[in-house]
C-alpha cells in the first residue's frame, strides 16, 4: 500500500467517527485530537477501525506515539512493511 492509499484509508476511517472532518483542514504536523474533536471512545473506535481495515495490531502502549496525523501514517507504514 503506497502512502496516498494509506492516507485515504486513514482519512476515511476518521470520517466514520467524525463525519464533519475536511481533509484539507487537517494539518499532518499538529496533534490530531486537537484538530478533530475526539474523545477517548472516538479515539479507540478510530484505532479499531484502522485495525480492522489494515489488519495491524496497535498496542495501547503505542498510543503515545500517535499524536499527529503524520505520526499515525508513519506508524502504520512501518507496521505494514
Amino acid at each position: 500500500m503506497d502512502e496516498n492509499e494509506l492516507r485515504t484509508v486513514v482519512i476515511a476511517t476518521l470520517k466514520t467517527i467524525a463525519p464533519e472532518v475536511e481533509e484539507g483542514d487537517l494539518r499532518a504536523d499538529r496533534p490530531l485530537r486537537n484538530q478533530v474533536d475526539l474523545d477517548s471512545m472516538d479515539w479507540l473506535n478510530f484505532l479499531i477501525g484502522l485495525h480492522q481495515k489494515l489488519q495491524v495490531d496497535i498496542p495501547e502502549a503505542d498510543y503515545a506515539k500517535l499524536v499527529t496525523l503524520g505520526d499515525v501514517l508513519d506508524y502504520l507504514q512501518k507496521k505494514l512493511k
Binding site: 474533536d37 474523545d39 471512545m41 479499531i48 498496542p59
Partner: protein
C-alpha cells in the same frame, strides 16, 4: 384493559412524534419489548412496554405528534377478550395548544381553539415568566390547584410553541433539530437551576493505581476488547453510591424517592451539537467488560439517534466526563428529577505529597453537584471520599 401511554423520556420532553409501530393488533407483548419508535427533539427512541398483554387497538397514527401521557394503544390483559373489554375512551390530554382552560373573556384566535369562560388563576411569577418567554398567558393550560397556571405550565407552553415547526415537513432539517434540542436543554437546565438548590464539592483523586491497573489489563487484550478509564469511573461511582442512597434517585412531588439500583446517565456530546445522557442500567452489578460493551453501544446509538425509552427515562444519577475535552474540573447542572451529578476532570500529572515526599502523580478532579433538599455537604464530602477510595482499588471494581 391496559392503556399504553407515551412515557416521558426525561425532564426536557413534553411531546413526541410516532414514527413507527413495531406491533399490530392481536400481537402478544412481553415486558420490555419495543412496541414503537417515537421521535423526540434528541433522538428516535425505541419505546418499551412495561406490562404483558395482547395489543387490542393502536390509537396513534404514524407521523402524529402527541403530548406525553397520551394513550397510544390499548392492550388486553391475560384472560381478557376483545368482547369483554370495553372500548377504552381516548383519555388523552388534549394537545397543548387546544387545552385552553377557563378564560374570562373572548380569546384572541390561536389556531381556532375554543373559548371557555370562568375565573382563572395565574401566579405573578408565572405571568412574569410568560412575558419573558413570549408566551400568551391566556392560552396556557393550568395544572396547579383549581387550574392555576404555574411556572411549569408556562414552560411547557413555551416548549409546545415550537411544535408546529417540529411537526412540519422540515423535521429532518439539522438546524431545526439542533434548535429543538437547544430549547429542550434550556427548559430542563432552567428548571434545574430554578428548583434545585445545588451545592458543589470537588476532590483531587490520585489516579496512579487506576491508570497502571488499566494499562496492565489492556496489555493482554485485543484492541476490540480494551477498557477505557471512563468505565472504571462509572463503576466506582456506582459502588460508592451504595452507601450514599441520598445521591441516587428522584426528587418528585416534594419528596425524595431513593432508587434501588444505580442506573447511571452518561453525558454524551453529539457531533452536531447538544448532548444527551441516557442510562446504563445496574452499573454496580456489571463487570467492567460488560460496562465497556454497554458504554460503546450506548455512545454509538446516542450518536446515531437511536435509544430505548428506559435509557432515556430512568437515569438515577448522571456522570459527565468533560476531562476528555481537557478541562481540570466540571461543576454540573443536575438533570431533574435526579438529585446529583458527578463530574470527572482530565487526568493530568501534578505535584503530590505522599509519605512526606514530593512526587508526581496523575490526578483527576472528581466533583459532585448535589441537591440540598435531599443531602448536605457533609454527606456529599463523604461520598466523594468513598469515590476516591474506590478508585484506589481498581482490582475490586
Amino acid at each position: 384493559m391496559i392503556e399504553f401511554t407515551l412515557p416521558s423520556l426525561g425532564a426536557d420532553m413534553d411531546e413526541g412524534k410516532l414514527l413507527e409501530w413495531k406491533v399490530s393488533p392481536g400481537d402478544t407483548v412481553k415486558k420490555g419489548q419495543v412496541v414503537a419508535i417515537v421521535d423526540t427533539s434528541k433522538a428516535a427512541v425505541d419505546i418499551e412496554i412495561w406490562c404483558e398483554g395482547t395489543v387490542f387497538e393502536l390509537l396513534t397514527e404514524p407521523d402524529e405528534t402527541i403530548p406525553v401521557g397520551t394513550v397510544m394503544a390499548t392492550l388486553l390483559e391475560a384472560g381478557e377478550s376483545a368482547e369483554t373489554a370495553k372500548r377504552a375512551p381516548r383519555a388523552a390530554p388534549a394537545p397543548k395548544a387546544a387545552a385552553t382552560p377557563s378564560h374570562p373573556g373572548p380569546l384572541p384566535r390561536h389556531g381556532g381553539e375554543g373559548i371557555v369562560s370562568g375565573r382563572r388563576r395565574v401566579s405573578p411569577a408565572a405571568r412574569k415568566h410568560a412575558e419573558e418567554l413570549g408566551v400568551d398567558i391566556e392560552t396556557v393550560a393550568g395544572s396547579g390547584p383549581e387550574g392555576a397556571v404555574t411556572l411549569a405550565d408556562v414552560e411547557q407552553a413555551a416548549a409546545a410553541k415550537v411544535s408546529p415547526a417540529r411537526t412540519a415537513a422540515v423535521t429532518d432539517k439539522v438546524a431545526d433539530k439542533a434548535a429543538a434540542m437547544r430549547r429542550a436543554i434550556a427548559a430542563a437546565m432552567g428548571r434545574s437551576k430554578r428548583e434545585i438548590p445545588h451545592y458543589y464539592l470537588s476532590e483531587p483523586v490520585p489516579m496512579r493505581r487506576a491508570t497502571e491497573w488499566l494499562a496492565l489489563a489492556n496489555e493482554g487484550r485485543p484492541i476490540t476488547a480494551r477498557l477505557l478509564m471512563a468505565v472504571l469511573q462509572l463503576k466506582a461511582v456506582a459502588l460508592a453510591l451504595r452507601k450514599f442512597p441520598e445521591m441516587n434517585g428522584f426528587f418528585r412531588d416534594g419528596a425524595f424517592q431513593p432508587a434501588t439500583a444505580a442506573h447511571i446517565g452518561v453525558a454524551i456530546s453529539l457531533r452536531q451539537g447538544g448532548l444527551i445522557a441516557p442510562a446504563i442500567h445496574d452499573v454496580g452489578e456489571k463487570s467492567l467488560e460488560q460496562l465497556m460493551l454497554d458504554l460503546a453501544d450506548l455512545v454509538k446509538r446516542a450518536r446515531a439517534g437511536s435509544l430505548r425509552s428506559s435509557e432515556m427515562s430512568d437515569p438515577t444519577i448522571t456522570v459527565t466526563n468533560l476531562g476528555e475535552q481537557g478541562v481540570a474540573a466540571v461543576y454540573g447542572v443536575i438533570y431533574p428529577p435526579q438529585v446529583a451529578l458527578v463530574g470527572f476532570g482530565r487526568i493530568g500529572e501534578q505535584p503530590w505529597v505522599e509519605n512526606n515526599a514530593l512526587g508526581v502523580m496523575p490526578v483527576a478532579t472528581a466533583s459532585l453537584a448535589a441537591d440540598h433538599r435531599v443531602s448536605d455537604g457533609h454527606r456529599g464530602a463523604l461520598f466523594l471520599a468513598a469515590l476516591r477510595d474506590q478508585l484506589q482499588e481498581p482490582e475490586k471494581l
